[in-house]
């Protein structure tokens, strides 16, 4: 299949490479920033452009991977080509494309991508939604070429997945950084925490989070929690966070949530 990528960010970069490696042809990359368009285009053997009106009709699928609030405007511009248009956004409804074409779908990769880091795309869950069954089958075939993990998820499900991903990825990564800052104040190497961070994530690959919760809050160890809050004196933002997260763990443990 011939694919055109609209966007050259983290998602577009990893997805374009995965599709090229699977034998598809990336014909063109568009980005308003010509340098970024050219860089990704170079890596996947495509043409580059920074002009919307230079995007070619000689393709099978347009894959839009840009900021959420730019998707509608791009879809409007591409509809004239009468090809399948797919976006990759977690928090954008399929309706945003359907406003301009019925030949539309979504291919949302549920992973955190950085340009500087390789990802095994075969393990990346790909969430598909489409305007009809025939388009769904086409997108599924495309997705199956690069991932072993394909899910049918509608726009409402995708939105909750995106929110859940913020809790499962963006917030934990922030907390890793808080831990690093705390150690930096005592000149202690962040390396000490790295095995712990990895093991914490590995544990929940087979087990449920609540069943492997450790630490003072799940033991309701009030002495240690009070000592920790005292160590955070002068950092009210971290104190508030410590209290709120600990309360959540205690509530879970008391069966007030259903995550058991």
């Amino acid at each position: 299949m011939r694919l055109t990528f609209i966007g050259s960010g983290n998602v577009a970069t990893h997805m374009a490479a995965a599709f090229k490696n699977a034998g598809h042809r990336i014909v063109q990359v568009y980005s308003p920033n010509m340098h970024n368009a050219a860089l990704l285009a170079y890596h996947v053997g495509a043409a580059a452009t920074n002009q919307l009106n230079e995007i070619s009709s000689e393709t099978d699928i347009f894959i839009i991977s840009v900021k959420d609030d730019a998707i509608a405007q791009i879809a409007e511009a591409l509809a004239v080509h009468q090809k399948l248009i797919v976006h990759t956004s977690g928090s954008t409804s399929l309706d945003v494309l359907l406003d301009y074409t019925n030949n539309a779908g979504v291919l949302y990769p549920l992973q955190t991508f950085s340009k500087t880091r390789e990802v095994d795309f075969l393990t990346v869950p790909l969430c598909i939604e489409a305007a009809n069954d025939s388009i769904y089958a086409d997108i599924k075939e495309l997705a199956a070429a690069v991932s072993n993990s394909i899910y049918s998820i509608n726009s409402a499900g995708r939105k909750i997945l995106h929110l859940a991903a913020v809790f499962a990825c963006n917030f934990p990564n922030y907390l890793y950084g808080v831990a690093r800052q705390l150690l930096a104040g005592y000149d202690i190497d962040f390396n000490l925490l790295r095995p712990l961070i990895l093991e914490t994530a590995q544990k929940v690959q087979q087990q449920l989070p609540a069943s492997v919760q450790t630490g003072p809050a799940v033991r309701n160890d009030q002495t240690t929690m009070a000592a920790h809050l005292q160590m955070l004196e002068g950092q009210p933002h971290l104190q508030a966070m410590y209290t709120l997260l600990s309360q959540g763990i205690i509530k879970n443990n008391n069966g007030e949530h259903e995550d058991k």
Copy 2:
């Protein structure tokens, strides 16, 4: 060396197994709960007791791995044997042992242990503190038999490490559970998030957390954050958490913290 374990919880279980595998002899396991003492003793070929006054002097090191507030009382009871006494607690000062004996040290394993899960002990950072250089050398030799990652950390450093571990392990694990709950409400499989959780932890094994932060907050994407808060309507605890954690990410990104 002959080792006696006081306690039979997660840390004692993993540590005793590691020392036994490294060729040391576990002579006795004490726990107030005889069933737990016998279970661990069986696994490491030791005798079991639930009576403090039945703990034998025929050992080289007592390793105390019990709840923090029980350490002092146990140390007092063991001091009569005039052997090296070591505790494994992150948040307990060495002084708690020094009140009863000068033959004392700390061996703190910085990892999250669950009885149901194997851990590669060679990668577990072991933090050592001792009453003097000679004891430090003895504990270091013992530690080096089971781990490649040995650090000299005093009581103040260990306390901050323990606090940092709460942020790097206990709180992220709680947030994994929140994500699972959010998906459960829509009947979406937690398996979709597992690769994301693992990749998030793997990313910071080589890189710094702030340099690989992704998500709406680091992009200062106010539209998505507002939509997420709306999806959390009726869950004020999660809304407060979302706001506090997002504010932290935004502040970091604006250079208001030093984690760059």
